[in-house]
């Protein structure tokens, strides 16, 4: 087989002290599907940027070594020539689109290639037909789910007809069924003879698709696994490397004894409903905390999980029903600050100039609370970073910081919306440990998530929401129950 991508002694650093890539050698054959795996910061994203040419032209720094695609040295080529050979799909479905509608987006790359009007139309129509999204051509991208947006991203790369596809953590913001949809698309690219390179720390969806797994650490390739070799790896061993589990069945559910935990503020919901434009988003939601158990709220996209979270926290007004805190009915405005809601998008909730300021901003006496803030930062493991700007932290650090803000206000209950999207195993663990500690101190948690691994290790009780109603409510004892609630088996089967 012919070599498609060849990386020859590549090293890269953007500041001279630290090497982001250290003497990388890799030969990728035509039609191969390669997973580049490793914890956050191991250099896997950096490596994709060398392959698609963004390093060194867009991300500056010192690059040595050579990269060839079809035996052409890509760093001698202008960016648009590389673009014709390599299609890219990035991590964030909110920031890789140029048009507000699907057709224009898919056409964007073709327009830049200098194709004629009729050729562009032909390519766009052909691509949407092959991918089965003809009916979405005139749809606004902002109305699509994240999973569909990644499909559009693949379409817009495909329309340029490249032979190599580079994916940079494409599943980071996707729920389970969307992740399997992504896997299906990658499989189709592979079956049509295209070469794929995927940087990831979630491995489960690549099972049976990736031919080789390249494990990186500190900018170096440490080990290479074949598809069979990675299957033999136990989840525990993968977790130690910062990787997420390959098989959900392996995940052990920790035994937690809830009896010793104090539960100072009883909270219950009765008959909660929310109507919106003749449509019932939430129907007669009733449940109460028995103890201080951590509840996971699961269900497919669009069944009303976030709406329930926002109504609970008083950001939206309920249409009917009652929420009791400490036995007293609380109107929606009274709930704000008592029931603390942390949305998925972390950047839009950081207001401070440094970490201390972040924790004290909005308090009546910020100056008197500095000692308390430092205490909390110590618990979060962020005290060494206290003078940094919150926006410069990593994803996992930001997640802990926003939890710290809630701790600062002594909120009796915290609702987290997708707290682990994009987090590798180590960062996820730190968030988990923090939540468990707060549980012991009496805080109640409701966690909206589609991250099976995180739920299994963290939550005690599962609530499943389907079309605005609670359809399942049980204590988690067996991983199989959880997999069933998340439809994991069915989606996987449907894939095969």
């Amino acid at each position: 087989m012919k070599s498609e991508v060849k990386i020859h002694h590549v090293s890269y650093s953007y500041n001279k002290n630290e090497m982001q890539l250290n003497d990388i050698n890799l030969n990728i054959l035509q039609g191969e599907c390669i997973a580049i795996i490793g914890a956050s910061g191991c250099g896997k994203s950096t490596l994709t940027r060398v392959i698609n040419g963004l390093i060194p032209s867009f991300f500056q720094g010192e690059l040595s070594g050579k990269t060839f695609i079809k035996e052409k040295d890509i760093h001698q080529l202008p960016s648009w020539e590389i673009g014709k050979m390599i299609g890219n799909v990035f991590q964030d479905p909110r920031s890789q689109f140029f048009s507000n509608e699907v057709a224009g987006e898919i056409a964007f790359g073709c327009e830049n290639m200098g194709l004629t009007h009729s050729e562009i139309i032909k390519r766009v129509n052909q691509t949407v037909k092959e991918m089965g999204i003809e009916d979405l051509l005139n749809t606004s991208i902002y109305s699509l789910s994240y999973g569909m947006r990644q499909k559009v991203a693949i379409c817009s790369a495909k329309a340029m007809e490249p032979d190599v596809y580079v994916f940079d953590e494409p599943s980071a913001n996707l729920d389970l069924s969307a992740t399997y949809l992504l896997a299906d698309l990658i499989k189709r690219l592979k079956n049509s003879g295209k070469t794929s390179i995927i940087a990831e720390h979630r491995l489960f969806y690549l099972r049976g698709i990736a031919d080789r797994y390249i494990f990186m650490e500190n900018g170096k390739i440490i080990k290479e696994y074949s598809s069979n070799e990675i299957q033999e790896q136990k989840s525990e061993a993968l977790n130690k490397k910062g990787l997420r589990s390959l098989r959900f069945e392996d995940i052990s559910i920790p035994n937690t004894d809830l009896s010793g935990i104090t539960s100072p503020h009883p909270i219950s919901v009765t008959g909660l409903s929310k109507d919106f434009k003749n449509h019932q988003l939430l129907k007669n939601i009733t449940f109460q905390y028995d103890n201080n158990e951590i509840i996971a709220l699961v269900g497919a996209n669009g069944v009303g999980k976030s709406t329930l979270g926002k109504v609970f926290a008083g950001l939206m007004k309920e249409s009917s029903g009652e929420i009791l805190v400490d036995g007293n009915s609380k109107k929606y405005k009274q709930r704000i600050g008592k029931i603390w809601y942390i949305p998925q998008d972390l950047d839009s909730q950081l207001f401070g100039e440094d970490l201390i300021d972040e924790l004290t901003t909005g308090l009546d006496n910020p100056d008197k609370n500095i000692d308390k803030a430092e205490d909390i930062l110590r618990k979060l493991g962020l005290i060494e970073l206290k003078n940094k700007h919150p926006a410069t932290l990593s994803g996992g650090q930001k997640q802990r910081l926003v939890l710290g803000v809630a701790m600062m206000r002594n909120a009796p209950m915290i609702i987290l919306d997708e707290p682990t999207s994009g987090l590798d195993f180590n960062s996820m663990e730190k968030v988990r440990v923090l939540i468990k500690e707060q549980q012991k101190n009496g805080t109640k948690f409701l966690i909206i998530s589609h991250d099976i691994e995180f739920i299994a290790r963290t939550c005690n009780r599962i609530l499943k929401l389907d079309d605005g109603e609670i359809t399942e409510d049980y204590y988690l004892e067996n991983i199989q129950d959880l997999l069933k609630s998340m439809n994991a088996k069915e989606v996987e089967k449907w894939m095969c």
Binding site: W80, K84, E101, A157, I336, S348, T361
Partner: protein, 228 residues
């Protein structure tokens, strides 16, 4: 014909020219009646293209503003700043036309710019500006929610006495988010060949449609009447 189909008939050049004519009306018209006539025309157009709610909102805002300017200001009722009212009065015509422009696919507008002999760099800035409007409005919504949780929007008293502090709370995360999105967008554009300096064609037609011609002729006639 459905409203969506009607809107699809409007081309990029048509929408841009309509906005230009609306600016002219706003600058040159002195008569209240003629100005009102153009507002009614734009409101009809918005409703025809499926934006009935927005059309009614604009007309109500316009009626209120004009009423206040003509009836209350001369009597010395200054509860609302006359300058603010004057600004709404002047800007409402271009804003209504611009609203339509932003409702058509951004690809259509970009196609028009591409056809013109505009330098690549300026074109790229325009493309990204158009792209950023929905991002920013989405971000502001999530920021506001986060502020609510923290009690940063809190009491009206706080907002009134510390308006700058409140603005800062919105602007700081917005800027950080914009830098991040901007960076990722630029990278996504480069790998898709945006730096190619060669001649480019577009997915969308840049020719004017019949709908365009009808709308623009009526608008132009109204503009002439307004100026005379």
């Amino acid at each position: 014909m459905s409203c969506e189909k009607r809107l699809r008939e409007l081309s990029g050049i048509g929408a841009l020219l309509l906005t230009f004519l609306a600016c002219m009306v706003s600058i040159f018209t002195e008569s209240y009646y003629m100005h009102a006539l153009f507002v009614i025309w734009l409101a009809m157009l918005l409703a025809y293209l499926g934006f009935v709610k927005q059309s009614v909102q604009y007309v109500l805002l316009y009626s209120f503003t004009t009423f206040w300017l003509i009836m209350m200001i001369p009597k010395g009722v200054m509860i609302i700043s006359p300058m603010l009212l004057g600004m709404i009065y002047k800007f409402i015509v271009p804003i209504m036309a611009a609203y339509l422009t932003f409702k058509i696919p951004s690809g259509k507008l970009i196609a028009v710019f591409q056809k013109s002999s505009m330098p690549q760099n300026i074109l790229l800035i325009l493309v990204i500006m158009i792209r950023f409007i929905p991002t920013i409005s989405g971000e502001i919504k999530t920021i506001k929610e986060a502020m609510k949780v923290r009690g940063l929007t809190g009491s009206k008293k706080k907002v009134f006495f510390h308006p700058l502090r409140t603005v800062e709370y919105v602007v700081v995360p917005l800027i950080f988010r914009s830098i991040k999105v901007g960076d990722e967008l630029a990278a996504a554009a480069i790998v898709r060949g945006v730096e190619n300096t060669g001649k480019k064609q577009s997915y969308y037609e840049t020719k004017m449609s019949k709908t365009d011609i009808v709308i623009l002729t009526i608008s132009l006639l109204l503009l002439i009447v307004c100026i005379i």
